[in-house]
């Protein structure tokens, strides 16, 4: 048995009873489970966002819609650059892959910078902190966890970019790594589509 294991080729394809690559199936299942995670945070926000009777500033009173709209647009366009990186890799265009990967990471970093700016504004200029009231807690918890996901995505993108700079580091043959990071990145984008509408555009000030 040990000999059999020893002689097994390293690139032996894994058994796939579904006909789908196990890593891809795993990623889709993970993303599917993330709906429950973000659903809980969005529900928590909806529950407390306009509940009156607490002291301090409420998030819905100080949203900067033009600023957040630009941030949303930036994140939306990062999905375009991500899919262009994937497309370039399928054509074995390594220069294009590297360029679009870096552009995606840069757009993600711009979005994160915007979030840091927004949080700083709320805390310093409006004295709305994590513990100011339940609405503020729910807001920081939801957008903070989303920002953490974006930050993880940027780290993964920069890692892929670093790997792609090595000779033979990232090729069409190993394209699954880029595809998985791409799926994660697009998911972060669709969650923000929901947050932008539910939290910002449909915000209701406390009664």
């Amino acid at each position: 048995m040990a000999d059999v294991l020893h002689e097994a080729p390293l690139d032996h394809p894994e058994h796939e009873s579904t006909g789908i690559d196990n890593r891809k199936l795993g990623m889709w299942l993970f993303l599917s489970s993330e709906f429950l995670f973000f659903g809980a945070l969005i529900s928590n926000y909806l529950l407390y966002s306009n509940r009156a009777g607490f002291a301090g500033t409420y998030p819905s009173e100080i949203y900067d819609i033009p600023f957040t709209s630009v941030s949303s647009f930036v994140l939306l366009m990062s999905s375009l650059t991500m899919v262009l990186a994937h497309n370039a890799l399928t054509r074995d265009d390594m220069h294009g892959t590297r360029t679009w990967l870096f552009a995606t990471a840069a757009l993600g970093a711009v979005f994160l910078g915007g979030q840091v700016f927004e949080f700083t504004e709320f805390i310093v200029n409006f004295d709305m902190k994590l513990t100011t009231n339940p609405a503020a807690s729910a807001f920081f918890l939801l957008t903070g966890f989303h920002g953490t996901h974006v930050a993880l995505g940027v780290i993964m993108l920069l890692s892929l970019w670093g790997i792609s700079r090595r000779p033979g580091g990232l090729s069409e043959k190993h394209g699954m790594n880029l595809e998985l990071v791409g799926l994660y990145w697009h998911f972060v984008d669709i969650i923000w589509i929901v947050i932008f509408t539910v939290v910002y555009l449909l915000s209701i000030p406390p009664a």
Partner: protein
């Protein structure tokens, strides 16, 4: 990289991005129109429809779910429907789910 030949071309990806940008612009415009003219629950319904459209476009074309095996669609849709149903019931039970315009 399954079914790669079915995926959109870069030019189509750009067109989809323009569409997503336009939908976002409509959302923001609607927000300001509602501030001036109070569209009531119509505003909320329209914004939810637009967000759903953007959501579906990204999942279908950028995540390529439209071109994947049905198993993946079932898993992903199943997770979404489960979460959406659960939290809709919870929020309705807590009296939060009342659509208001502004």
């Amino acid at each position: 990289m399954t079914n790669e030949h079915h995926h959109p071309t870069p030019a189509q990806y750009w067109k989809i991005a323009v569409l997503l940008g336009v939908l976002t612009a409509i959302e923001v415009a609607l927000y300001y129109v509602n501030l001036s003219y109070d569209l009531g629950s119509f505003n909320a319904i329209l914004l939810i429809v637009l967000a759903t459209l953007k959501f579906v476009i990204v999942v279908a074309f950028y995540m390529h779910l439209r071109y994947e095996k049905a198993t993946l669609s079932r898993f992903f849709t199943g997770g979404f429907v489960l979460a959406a149903s659960l939290y809709t019931v919870v929020l309705a039970a807590l009296g939060v789910l009342v659509i208001r315009g502004s």
